[in-house]
Amino acid sequence: MGTGVTGAICIAAGASAALDMLPLWGAGLLIVVAFPFFVVLLGLWWNASEGEGDIPFIGY
């Protein structure tokens, strides 16, 4: 759900800027906000699974 929404925002912002419906800085701002969430949510959507949080090595 989140992946699709953030991906759609990125594409819509890029297309709007190309069609002069949105100033370049405005499209850039939308993409700067949406793109990080898109990358992380895309990975969390297709990754192998979610395991239990482990305790890293914290010294002897």
Binding site: C10, I11, A13, G14, A17, A18, L24, W25, A27, G28, I31, V32, V33, F35, P36, F37, V39, V40, L42, G43, L44, W46, N47, A48, S49, E50, G51, E52, G53, D54, I55, P56, F57, I58, G59
Partner: protein
């Protein structure tokens, strides 16, 4: 715009792969294929992912998002020929990302990386000197003005080579396997990125590929000027290969030696500027 962002991500990852390949060949090893970093990022994104039990959950995830956001913003600043002072600001925010990555995980290796990133803040001093010198010569920090200045007076690389050398050291300090890369030295595993694995590492790879693309692109625009984009890409590749040579042939410096080297670079720029003022 999103198409250029995706292009920059894949080109940045490819540049990382070329960097590793070049270092390996210089050191007499076959090295990985140049598309290895693209495959790496994909591989990490498919892996099992969680947040370590010792981590500060919000900060652990937030720094990854911030890393992606700031370097996307930096790319658009270059694309729109905005102010290089904003690029400098983003470089400062990247320092917060480096601290946050290491301190959020609860791992001692990450914390060592974070502490070393404080020391490596010395890399900002040559950048500050570079920006000051550029303003002194061109009278503007707007990238469009700097490009126009070079169109009229020739590339800044030829007009002020010590300043270009200082910026080169700034970029070198942010490359993987650099003599200045003390925050991710092997003796502290992967330094501040040690506990960021799986999807988090894939996202960081994307962010750092953007960082490499932006820094190389910025160097070409600031010191060569407005040239066809294909020529920009060729120059970025040549710049990267020169950085690979340095990384392959120089051992990693101790943390305090990195500060000394970067302070010397700043002093060189300061002496150069004084000399320019005296001569002028």
């Amino acid at each position: 715009m999103i198409d250029f962002l995706l292009f920059a991500v894949f080109t940045g990852l490819l540049l990382h792969g070329i960097h590793r390949k070049a270092i390996a060949r210089i050191q007499g090893r076959p090295g990985p294929p140049i598309w290895q970093e693209i495959l790496h990022s994909l591989k990490f994104s498919f892996k099992e992912t969680w947040i370590p039990a010792t981590a500060s959950e919000v900060l652990f995830v937030a720094v990854v998002l911030v890393a992606l956001g700031i370097w996307s913003a930096a790319l658009f600043i270059l694309l729109l020929e905005g102010s290089i002072l904003m690029l400098f600001g983003i470089y400062m925010l990247h320092k917060i990302v480096e601290h946050g990555l290491g301190l959020s995980s609860g791992s001692p290796y990450g914390k060592f990386g974070a502490i070393r990133s404080v020391i490596s803040a010395a890399s900002e001093i040559p950048l500050f000197a570079t920006i000051g010198a550029i303003y002194f010569v061109t009278g503007s920090l707007q990238l469009s003005d700097i490009i126009a200045y070079q169109a009229a007076n020739g590339p800044l690389l030829l007009l002020m080579p010590p300043v270009a050398a200082a910026m080169y050291i700034v970029i070198l300090s942010k490359m993987h396997y650099s003599p200045f890369a003390i925050i991710e030295a092997k003796e502290i595993v992967s330094g501040n990125r040690t506990e960021h694995f799986g999807v988090w590492r894939a996202a960081l790879d994307v962010a750092f590929s953007l960082k490499t693309f932006v820094l190389l692109y910025a160097f070409v625009l600031i010191f060569i000027g407005g040239i066809p984009f294909a020529a920009v890409l060729v120059l970025m590749l040549l710049l990267l290969l020169s950085l690979s040579f340095v990384c392959a042939l120089c051992p990693m410096l101790s943390p305090y030696d990195t500060v000394t080297m970067q302070s010397l670079a700043t002093a060189l720029v300061a002496v150069y500027l004084v000399a320019v003022v005296v001569i002028a």
